[in-house]
Subunit: 415 residues, 2 copies
């Protein structure tokens, strides 16, 4: 039996005991986990140094090394993340509906854990702790498959979390990490129907597409964001500039940052040059359609593929449109149904945009950067769903639950 | 461009106009559809006769021919089904949550249509009408791919429904039927990510498994039911016999019928022979484990694969267990998480069974046959979900919706 199957089976078995624990028992375990991370942070930093050394030798980029690196403050943030999860209400056991049927059957519809969740992610050790905390809080066992570049860190973190679970009601087996760094361990996870109940990919577009294309286990698709901001003819100029600038520049590396700015032709003539100047001063590379290039001298012309590229970087596409409808059509064609924004003082246009754009989060006069579990008041999030089933947008703890019907009778049979 | 892709693209395009229609507009269209089916039933029966003739020539079984056959009363039932859908509340537009954040952002979480739904099903023309009605009522466009044996009937039904839509606000293109009877049209549908938002298979286990194994589009898995009834040591004998008999015999062909009877050894000694006798008199073939065969002379011994077979027929597995735990373990191993029942007067055992069995519907002292949208009071159902994401158990109209967040601001940017 492969490592993946063996560990997934152990985790599944443990999920049944975990699923019926009380909120208090689960919270106590999470607090133990947080405490152990702090008291043993030197060990984590030591293991992380091995990963960093190997990463430097194999030529990982500076930004990947940065995501991989742990230090005292990052470990404290991981522990603090667990403590924040403890503070969140436990959705498991919540009654969604109760009804008594004319034949006397009493039906209760309850939230229950999903069971066993698989998380496939990149070389970010903080995801190891975060995903473990979110899954265990919701009564789910979890099999983690992180990027191989973080293996030493992840192995050490899981060792420590396992020791923490020893002093808790949560069975250790409910938390598993796959150490097999080969691609085949991912492929195997994706096909474990009947053992793994759900796979959640967390990472870049290629990781997510591999999961979506190859999984037979149900997937919650997260992340990819080609987000647009549309500056309408009747946008308030200062607000339009601030929202566009914030959506692009405040943190370009994340999925809710803007990739394409759509500008109505009548607004563009007066205001696009200033906005372009502000972007350039923040080191944003601009790529425009023909009309935008005419308005902004020196702007590079965008290639067709640019409109469907998630840069996650200081690069921005700019397109001039002649109408709200043209903006809507562009978004329908190139958007990834993540976050889309209109800036306008025209209420009718705002209402149409909100109604007609098919995305998880649709904004009027606010930056797309707000699509986030914390900003929405959900506390922690396991990701931002860009699919339409089960959960859409920022996923809080309830997105990690399923439901079941309990039906109590007194001998009822069907006529 | 293949037929599937061309029709799916037309339907997707139409979904945007359909998605913003009012409940009244959609209901009016459904009533038109019902009226047209009634006034043109002679044409449907004529087309159906072609299918039946072809079916007889190709040697379809009697039960398949029965499912395929239409007559006046069946067409009236199809029209009545549409009228019942009209009476159901429209979930689209429902506000799930509203919140105002400290920064002044107003966030509304609303139910919206899923978009374009693909339905893959067998040669049952009633599903054509039923699925069309449920999808259109919830603002979804739909691509139907029914079994080839029903092609003449389906083509005629869709012609008639298209004519009905002419006098309605729903664009005709929102309702499409795939006429390509080859396997490749199904394969194509399963991979249309970005066009088809969800696939719902309706049919037998092999149809469903083909969809689950091969789809990259998100799937709502329905149907397969290996349901158990457990007669506990403290079951009330007459109730136990009635519930078991009803679960097996009242309609064996459906997914919520019982396939395996689990009996506690102390109850079995006194009561299994009578229950077995009653089953035999209803022409149920019994297959038991060794201990059951000892108690019921002449019972055939069950093969290992029998425990994981959904007979949908007058066949029943019988197993004697020594404890509630053994029953729970058997269900965990062989169940399909559909409907499971315990019959007992012992409240502690009932509570444990309800809490620990991982299934869409868990019963105490009532027949598993009640797992059904109508019996739960949901009106029509598109199927019974046996997966854990999005929807679980009988799926009413809300299961055919997604959600989105609308966020209204006054220039908020992220700090």
């Amino acid at each position: 039996m492969s490592e993946v199957i063996a560990k997934a089976k152990m985790a599944k078995e443990a999920s049944f005991a975990l699923g019926v624990l009380s909120t208090e028992q689960k919270n106590q375990a999470l607090l133990q986990m947080a405490d152990h991370l702090i008291t043993r942070q030197a060990e984590i930093i030591e293991a992380n140094a091995e990963d960093l050394e190997r990463g430097r030798q194999t030529g990982l980029s500076v930004s990947l090394l940065d995501r991989l690196a742990l230090n005292e403050s990052r470990i404290e943030a991981m522990a603090e993340g667990l403590r924040q999860i403890v503070e969140l209400p436990d959705p498991v056991g919540e009654t969604l509906q109760t009804m008594t049927r004319p034949n006397g059957l009493r039906i209760r519809h309850l939230r229950v854990p999903i069971g066993l969740i698989g998380i496939i992610y990149e070389a970010r050790p903080n995801v190891t702790v975060d995903a473990a905390g979110l899954c265990l809080k919701t009564g789910n066992a979890v099999v983690l498959r992180g990027g191989s570049a973080a293996l030493s860190s992840n192995r050490k973190i899981i060792d420590i979390l396992h020791d923490a679970l020893d002093a808790s009601a949560i069975p250790k087996d409910a938390l598993q990490i796959v150490e097999d760094a080969s691609r085949s361990s991912v492929d195997e996870m994706l096909k474990l129907n009947g053992i793994i109940d759900t796979i959640i990919p967390r990472g870049g577009a290629s990781l997510i597409q591999n999961v979506v294309q190859n999984a037979t286990v149900p997937v919650i698709e997260t992340g990819a964001g080609i987000c647009h901001t549309y500056l309408d003819a009747e946008a308030e100029p200062a607000m339009a500039s601030d929202i566009a600038f914030n959506a692009k520049v405040q943190r370009p590396s994340v999925c809710n940052a803007m990739e394409t700015l759509l500008v109505h032709e009548s607004f563009a003539a007066a205001h696009l040059p200033d906005i372009a100047q502000r972007m350039k001063e923040a080191n944003v590379e601009l790529r425009g359609d023909k009309r935008a290039c005419t308005l902004v001298p020196g702007m590079k012309e965008a290639a067709e593929q640019d409109w469907s590229t998630e840069y996650n970087d200081y690069v921005l596409n700019v397109k001039i449109v002649s109408s709200l409808d043209e903006a809507l059509m562009h978004i329908r064609r190139y958007g990834t149904m993540h976050s889309e924004c209109i800036v306008t003082e025209n209420e009718l246009h705002a209402r149409r945009f909100l109604a007609e754009v098919d995305a998880a989060a649709v904004y009027h006069n606010a930056s797309t950067r707000f699509t986030d579990g914390f900003e929405f008041g959900y506390g922690a999030e396991i990701g931002i769903s860009t699919q339409k089933l089960h959960a859409r947008g920022p996923m809080g703890l309830p997105a990690l639950t399923s439901s079941k019907y309990l039906i109590e009778g007194s001998g009822q049979i069907r006529q």
